[in-house]
């Protein structure tokens, strides 16, 4: 009975761990995460999950380190959605899809892109970026 409980607790904690795909490492100004209809103010050390939407204000900027060492930051007036993220720390297989709806984004790709060059894809309102292991910045701005 006791070992069954132990396995249950292990399974639950493993699942909780798996839901977390990255951690907020830098944060300044106004910024929050939209998660399941709630607005969570961003602070350093907070865990990021799949389907989270990061929103920053005019003075906001946030940096996230993902499980596979992909580094991502969003600048002021940005909206970034983590559409899907999975990473196997043994094989380095994975998939990372994110959408920059507005604002600016900087990316330093991590272990999964090194393993498979098509693992990471960034969408903007009019483009899709394929990332082949590199560092880059993106900006989506209103023309007016």
């Amino acid at each position: 009975m006791r070992w069954m409980m132990a396995i249950g607790i292990l399974a639950v904690s493993a699942a909780a761990f798996a839901a977390e795909v990255g951690e907020i490492k830098t944060a300044s100004g106004t910024a929050y995460l939209e998660r399941e209809g709630a607005r969570l103010p961003v602070r350093v050390g907070m865990q990021v999950r799949q389907a989270d939407k990061l929103v920053t204000g005019a003075d906001g900027a946030v940096g996230i380190t993902f499980l596979d060492n992909t580094l991502v930051s969003a600048g002021p007036n940005s909206a970034l959605v983590i559409d899907s993220y999975r990473f196997d720390s043994t094989t380095h297989a994975g998939k990372f899809d994110a959408s920059l709806q507005r604002g600016s984004l900087a990316v330093i790709s991590g272990k999964m892109v090194k393993q498979s060059p098509d693992a990471m894809r960034i969408r903007t309102p009019s483009s899709v970026l394929g990332v082949r292991g590199t560092e880059f910045v993106v900006k989506v701005a209103d023309p007016h």
Partner: protein
């Protein structure tokens, strides 16, 4: 009069029509000067960026300078998290003790942890190519857990620590299968 009215209507239409957003993508060189590739697919247009500061501005190819990129993207670039640091530790063969060099490396690792209070740590075990893939996966995780336990013992909070086993997939020194190679029997610690 009609011309004026017509112009005003056109101007209003242009102003309120849903203009496509201005989009800029710029490729940056890595810290070692190495440059990767980003492919920008915009409808049927495809741009391949593979030179430092090569950019695509709403589909148009442009070459920017480092200064221009710093000015335009300064705020987002300075929000990037620090790059993960990697430390490699070796054990004395068949023993539970680190080699002298690795003890010094462990001290450097602890200094790094202190200077990065927001860091989290991933401990990654590796094996050489003796034994099956499955047994090496298990062994590499076991090595990682041993170092993780050591870091816990040194007072590093459990919430900051994760472990992973890479088996024989990432050798430092390439060998044929079945070959003993002490340099590949190691534990790597990522401070992130």
């Amino acid at each position: 009069m009609h011309v004026l009215l017509f112009s005003a209507v056109v101007a209003l239409l242009v102003y309120f029509s849903p203009d496509p957003k201005h989009e800029t993508v710029v490729l940056l060189p890595g810290p070692d000067g190495k440059v990767g590739t980003v492919v920008v697919q915009r409808g049927s247009q495809r741009a391949v960026l593979d030179k430092p500061y090569a950019a695509s501005r709403s589909g148009e190819a442009v070459q920017l300078s480092e200064g221009e990129v710093r000015r335009e993207f300064g705020a987002v670039l300075s929000a990037l998290p620090p790059r993960p640091m990697s430390y490699v530790l070796y054990f004395i063969a068949g023993e539970d003790e680190l080699t002298d060099e690795s003890k010094a490396e462990l001290r450097r690792l602890l200094d790094e942890l202190r200077s990065r209070p927001q860091s989290d740590i991933v401990v990654i075990g590796h094996t050489d190519r003796v034994g099956s893939d499955a047994s090496n996966d298990a062994l590499s995780l076991q090595r990682a857990e041993r170092v993780k336990a050591e870091l816990l013992g040194l007072g590093i909070a459990a919430a900051r620590l994760r472990s992973a086993g890479r088996g024989e997939r990432e050798p430092l020194v390439r060998t044929a299968d079945g070959v003993e190679e002490p340099r590949n029997r190691r534990v790597e610690v990522n401070v992130r």
